[in-house]
């Protein structure tokens, strides 16, 4: 069964680009356009990995991650931070990686494959 990746970003172009990239590489995908929307989706879909933006209109990435870690069923889902903010590697320090936009697709896919196969 294909592994599932959840893309959380308020930029529609980024979500559609990432979704297509993951689908082309054989993964299932789900999307959320904001951290608050992502809470419901993550509980329902239980993805194997999440790519997370930091700055979003309602619920920011770090706050979403904080709530995620309070749920024992979800707290071990690996996170890849993809953000344009400077110093983004410090925002979610337990993330498996932090990439800065514009990111290298090959580097991202390498991290995804290393993390969930």
């Amino acid at each position: 069964m294909a592994k599932k990746i959840m893309v959380v970003d308020d930029d529609k172009e980024i979500t559609s680009y990432l979704t297509q990239l993951f689908k082309d590489n054989g993964y299932e995908t789900v999307e959320a356009n904001d951290g608050s929307e992502a809470h419901d989706i993550v509980a329902k879909e239980k993805p194997d990995l999440i790519t997370l933006d930091l700055e979003m209109p309602n619920e920011w990435g770090p706050r979403f991650y904080r709530k995620l870690t309070q749920n024992p069923e979800l707290k071990k889902i690996p996170i890849i931070v993809i953000s344009g903010l400077p110093s983004n590697q410090y925002a979610i320090q337990k993330a498996v990686a932090s990439l800065t936009k514009p990111f290298d697709r090959d580097e991202l896919m390498k991290i995804v494959k290393q993390t969930i196969g």
Binding site: G35, P62, Y65, R66, L85
Partner: protein, 299 residues
């Protein structure tokens, strides 16, 4: 929520983190934002002023054109944030920065001052070890809480959900506690009441340390528990180590988005209390905004 926020900014990258938090707070909590900039220190007073320009350091005569240019520069710097900000004013002044910040804070009766730890000197001394003199002086004299956002990464909050209140049980910590509790109630946050047992330069048996931790946890519950009222979403914790390191660590561990602590806990007179070394180091190292409170006003 705090209704009037003063963002004291140099417009340089050193204050971008503070600006991000100030704009985000104003938007999220429907507060008025005063964007305040001191354009330079006058060389001549009264009828004719000449200031050293903040960016170029050149002597410039202050007239309407110059101030309009400075305002335009600020609008350009924060163009993206200003688009989403409905309630703001840009205020400019010339003079000594700390004095002007305090003057505006007093005149406008602001509820909070937000600023970076220093003006943007990129020397390692400032970025690693010491807050700038403007922050020192503002924090010492301000009647309202002063929020400092030193690092870019400290600005990734997007609203408050967990507040760490660090105390050494001093009298000054009482105002900080009241402020932390009112914030936690207002924003429905979790709150951690924290004390760091200072074991630096001491050699203690492990059981001694653990006995102290147990008794200090009890002291935290005894001192602050009865003051929590109907607010139940809190925990107490005591860690041993170097106090500022432990405060930064527990904030990171709990993914706190705000640290509240007293400004100086040894000096009883707030007029005399310069910023304490623990607060200085927490400000420079924390991964979230830090609020210093020393006075009962505005809490």
């Amino acid at each position: 929520m705090k209704k009037k926020i003063l963002l004291a900014t140099t417009g340089s990258p050193a204050s971008f983190g503070a600006a991000r938090v100030a704009f985000e707070m104003a938007r999220r909590y429907d507060a008025e934002l005063l964007l305040f900039h001191v354009a330079g220190v006058p060389k001549k007073g009264f009828s004719y002023q000449e200031v050293s320009d903040v960016r170029s350091q050149e002597a410039v005569s202050v007239d309407e054109d110059y101030m309009a240019w400075v305002e335009e520069e600020l609008k350009t710097t924060y163009a993206k944030q200003l688009e989403d900000c409905n309630n703001f004013r840009i205020l400019l002044a010339t003079g000594l920065p700390h004095r002007e910040i305090l003057r505006v804070a007093r005149g406008e009766d602001v509820d909070m001052i937000i600023m970076g730890a220093h003006s943007g000197d990129s020397s390692a001394v400032y970025s690693k070890g010491y807050p700038g003199s403007t922050l020192q002086r503002v924090a010492k004299a301000a009647k309202c809480p002063v929020m400092t956002v030193h690092r870019e990464s400290a600005s990734y909050m997007g609203g408050f959900s967990h507040i760490v209140f660090a105390t050494d049980f001093s009298k000054q910590s009482e105002s900080a506690f009241k402020y932390a509790l009112s914030m936690a109630k207002e924003f429905d946050c979790e709150m951690t009441l924290f004390h760091a047992l200072d074991i630096t330069s001491k050699v203690l048996a492990q059981s001694d340390i653990e006995d102290k931790l147990i008794s200090l946890r009890k002291r935290l519950r005894d001192v602050y528990g009865p003051k929590m009222g109907d607010f139940k979403n809190f925990e107490v914790d005591v860690w041993e180590g170097n106090p500022y390191v432990e405060i930064v660590k527990i904030a990171r561990e709990r993914m706190a988005d705000l640290i509240v602590l007293a400004h100086n806990t040894r000096e009883l007179d707030p007029e005399q209390a310069s910023m304490g070394s623990t607060l200085e180091q927490v400000i420079l190292r924390a991964n979230c905004p830090v609020v210093s409170v020393n006075r009962p006003d505005k809490v």
